[in-house]
């Protein structure tokens, strides 16, 4: 299939349709409103459902209701909107329903700004809502990967019966890049008859299904949490994705960086290579589960003297990097979080100070 030039936000919308998701609920927020605008036009063409909800709070529960019926469903938002949806995310995780949430991050806290940011790392990977739950979190570094991850997200949401998040940023949402769409996804949600409230007639069954998150009996609640825990353990075994860049040679410093920030780091690495300085990059492509062993191995390579986490935040992923390096190397941090993406030159300056 030929490549097409598309804006990230629109490509994410198209990817959802090609993944067989015909249900989309959303509330407008910069810098991702183009997803809703694109799907408002596109979904009626495929007899899909488009609805602009009255708030992100309501949209979270529209997603929950639709997901509870076993139908593929997605919403997209940006940081403050995801805060409002986090209540629903907690319920959806507890009730074990598959759904796809896209966060095109902007600066925070509060209203923050509308420029790109990676300041929702904690929110995405450590919870966001209340209770013991995790999202499977993908971090694309461009439009192509955003498309592929969005399409895969539906399959994985169904595999794990839980919410999956695509964690992009304003740059990925707003920029145009050539993109090649993979083949359309065909698979139907599996085993949904066991749990989805699709109507007893639909299932030709006398057994009714419940979608719920209230477990007043302590043993029952503990068992539900153990079931979630087992899913997260399985994700750690089966879903970790990462990329190594310039990690074959003897690098002196290992950068850990993801998304848009990692692309700037790659440019810095190429520029330093011309000067004869070898720097490696470990780019997590899933943020939960985090590539723990890959980070440890890359950080503890003999040539590697220091590790630095570079983020468009004030230092969030660095806590996971420190955890994974287990004190074997010094872990530094560099980050900006106002909306200006650090330049390759700035990264080089920071790295040279480390050497």
């Amino acid at each position: 299939m030929a490549k097409v030039l598309m804006k990230g936000n629109e490509a994410i919308g198209e990817a959802a349709i090609r993944a067989g998701c015909k249900n989309y609920f959303a509330y407008p927020i910069t810098p991702q409103s183009e997803v809703a605008e694109y799907l408002a036009k596109r979904l009626p063409e495929v007899s899909g459902v488009f609805l602009q909800g009255e708030s992100e709070v309501a949209v979270g529960y529209m997603i929950f209701g639709a997901a509870g019926c076993g139908e593929r469903v997605m919403t997209t938002s940006s940081s403050p909107g995801i805060s409002l949806m986090s209540e629903a995310l907690s319920y959806i995780a507890a009730a074990q329903c598959p759904a796809v949430f896209v966060n095109i991050m902007r600066g925070g806290p509060g209203l923050g700004g509308i420029l790109p940011s990676q300041a929702d790392y904690f929110q995405a990977t450590k919870g966001g809502g209340h209770g013991d739950y995790h999202l499977l979190v993908f971090a694309p570094d461009g439009v192509q990967e955003a498309v592929e991850m969005t399409m895969n997200a539906f399959t994985l949401a169904e595999k794990y019966r839980g919410p999956v998040m695509i964690l992009g940023d304003g740059m990925i949402g707003q920029m145009m890049e050539p993109v090649e769409f993979p083949d359309n996804l065909k698979s139907e949600p599996s085993n949904k008859d066991d749990w989805a409230t699709s109507g007893m007639d639909t299932r030709k069954s006398n057994k009714r299904n419940l979608v719920r998150s209230l477990f007043l009996d302590p043993t029952e609640l503990n068992n539900n949490n153990l079931a979630l825990k087992a899913k997260y353990a399985r994700m750690k075994k089966e879903e970790i994705l990462y990329e190594g860049y310039n990690t074959d040679g003897n690098y002196k410093v290992l950068i850990v960086s993801y998304g848009t920030m990692s692309r700037v780091c790659k440019t810095s690495i190429d520029m330093m290579k011309e000067e004869g300085i070898e720097i490696g990059l470990l780019r997590p492509r899933t943020l939960f589960p985090f590539p723990e062993e890959a980070v440890f191995k890359a950080a503890t390579k003999e040539s590697c003297k220091a590790v630095i986490s570079i983020e468009m935040s004030m230092g969030q992923m660095v806590e996971d990097v420190e955890r994974c390096v287990r004190g074997q190397r010094k872990v530094d941090f560099y980050g900006e979080c106002g909306g200006d993406i650090p330049t390759p030159e700035k990264i080089i300056e920071v790295i040279k100070e480390l050497i």
């Binding site: 009255e54 529960y61 209701g65 639709a66 509870g68 629903a88 009730a95 109507g199 009714r208």
Partner: protein, 245 residues
């Protein structure tokens, strides 16, 4: 002589957790009878609220989802939009619907979502232990209004049916009560009509039901019925507020 009275198929055999004299059980039965009579049990999905009826799915016998506090209309919207062939209803109390869920119910009604809402108005928070609701009457005592509701500080009770009827979007909006057999028969007709509008894919339908909460009102079941007649009904007038063309 044949069987003249039996438990609706749409009700389960479980004992309810409701207090003696509570009218939830009556309304559950009316909903179940309507569902049986319309033959829609196999394609019905209920949405439970947060409040005393949070466990109402234990007493019905068809698919159910359980919402967060106040969000049932948003969940019902999600269900009905992606599966318009299903019959969807929310069952909500006054704290759930008229306080924390005010935004969701107004917008769902205004979009003309083709689902049904059964709204239990007993002028108090039940499950959390008798706190003041937006529907609590002036001077009525509650655990968070120990000397009675002060309307200077908290405004007047919200009349949901009156509020929703003002929306321009067509809908079926009615207020009923279940304080005596005559009212119960009328409420049954209204609930059935609400589901009929949905089956015909006609409009949003909303049945407010004036109910009792003897426990949190501090009254015997009989006194609670009388208090509701004397105090609630003059303010919450019964009848159809809006009927679709």
């Amino acid at each position: 002589m044949g069987k003249t009275f039996s438990k609706p198929e749409a009700l389960s055999s479980n004992m309810t957790h409701y207090c003696p004299g509570c009218t939830h059980g009556i309304v559950h039965r009316l909903v179940a009878e309507a569902i049986d009579e319309l033959g829609i049990r196999g394609r019905t999905v209920g949405v439970a609220p947060v409040g005393c009826a949070v466990l109402c799915y234990n007493y019905f016998n068809f698919d159910f989802q359980e919402a967060a506090h106040g969000r049932a209309p948003a969940m019902a919207t999600g269900i009905k939009r992606v599966r318009p062939d299903l019959i969807v209803f929310t069952y909500q109390g006054d704290g759930d619907l008229a306080s924390i869920g005010m935004g969701e119910i107004i917008h769902a009604a205004n979009r003309g979502e083709k689902f049904t809402t059964i709204f239990i108005n007993n002028a108090i928070y039940g499950m959390t232990g008798g706190q003041m609701a937006p529907t609590t009457m002036p001077g009525q005592r509650a655990t968070t209004a120990p000397t009675g509701r002060n309307t200077d500080l908290t405004g007047m009770p919200i009349r949901m049916a009156n509020l929703l009827k003002e929306l321009v979007t067509p809908g079926y909006i009615t207020r009923q009560a279940v304080l005596n057999p005559k009212q119960i028969n009328k409420a049954k007709k209204a609930i059935k009509k609400a589901f009929e509008y949905q089956v015909a894919n006609k409009c949003f339908s909303f049945v407010e039901v004036i109910s009792t909460c003897p426990t949190n009102w501090g009254l015997t079941p009989l006194d609670a019925l009388k208090w509701a007649e004397d105090t609630l009904l003059p303010y919450y007038e019964l009848g159809d507020y809006k009927i679709p063309e």
